[in-house]
Symmetry: C2
Subunit: 192 residues, 2 copies
């Protein structure tokens, strides 16, 4: 990503953070990033793609921070709680941005499918690491055998979290529900 692209994403994040999705007006993004509208479209195919780039950036930042050290906690439940708590807090700290990002994530735009898949994979990997009690970064080295049961559980947890995230973004419930949904699920799925 070159300098201009970085400025564009940065600006989009700032605008979304302040006033949400609709405030990310591409004419404003261009002006604030000191770039022509045509340049925005040379870098990104659409508004959604800018926001997905922002999501990539934010989630990688968060996951890197979370995965730096081995996840603390004696039991898998505690560790899973920890990573989802960190992820959720990190995202909901800027609620308008978070809502804008979910919107892109759930937009159904076929042009971003791969990046959406990457996001899901990132979370799933992090959750699997938490279940096992490893640092998330180890999973890259590990290579081979992944327990099928653990993968299934991680994927269920991720789906529950994601659905709850979308629900929060749509005003269905408070942010705290994300974690309580996760806790209820781990109570049924993980024995520690």
């Amino acid at each position: 990503m070159d300098d201009r692209a970085r400025r564009i994403v940065e600006t989009a994040v700032a605008l979304a953070e302040r006033d949400g999705y609709q405030a990310v007006r591409l004419r404003d993004v261009a002006a604030t990033a000191q770039v022509a509208l045509g340049t925005v479209y040379k870098r990104f195919a659409s508004k959604e793609e800018i926001l997905i780039a922002a999501l990539e950036q934010e989630s990688e930042k968060l996951v890197a921070k979370i995965g730096k050290k081995p996840v603390p906690g004696d039991g898998s439940r505690e560790r899973v709680h920890f990573v989802f708590s960190a992820l959720t807090k990190g995202l909901l700290r800027r609620p308008n941005l978070a809502k804008a990002l979910v919107r892109s994530l759930a937009s159904g735009d076929p042009n971003i499918t791969e990046r959406v898949a990457s996001f899901h994979a990132l979370i799933t990997a992090m959750v699997m690491a938490a279940i096992r009690g490893e640092a998330a970064s180890e999973q890259a080295e590990w290579g081979g055998d992944v327990d099928e049961r653990e993968r299934t559980i991680a994927s269920i947890l991720q789906n529950v979290w994601f659905a709850s995230f979308v629900g929060w973004a749509g005003g269905l419930h408070e942010g705290s529900q994300l974690l309580s949904d996760i806790d209820k699920t781990t109570e049924l799925l993980l024995t520690d």
Copy 2:
């Protein structure tokens, strides 16, 4: 819902079914429904609201059909599989319409929060009925005590299904994954 409103929703469904969300152009909807654009906006506050009305209609139709007789199957797993299978098939039969409806469901529009909540509640009720082996319609009469554990499991299943639905709409995977996600989850959550 009066006659014009019905025609509007009907037309929106037809257009979405043929060519998806972007094909539901409100000028076209108005013209086809033989109504002025202003009339569309007197009935519905936005395009999202028309599609949510369509979702309400379609999902009520489906759930009514599914909930008519007691859910077949000896075990709760089998029954849960049955209702999600019916729901999923009923929706994915018209994939473009289904994608358009998910998009509204996941749009995050605060003006439709209540109707989104109703949709989720409808599904959850249906799933709870399936777990217990009742006809879904009985749940209205039952009134009182709902087992907390069952409610939690139903809500997890619904979240998993919904997340998978959104994933399908975004091109992440085939429709068949919806059911296999549900099956994997019930294997871990229900003992029959």
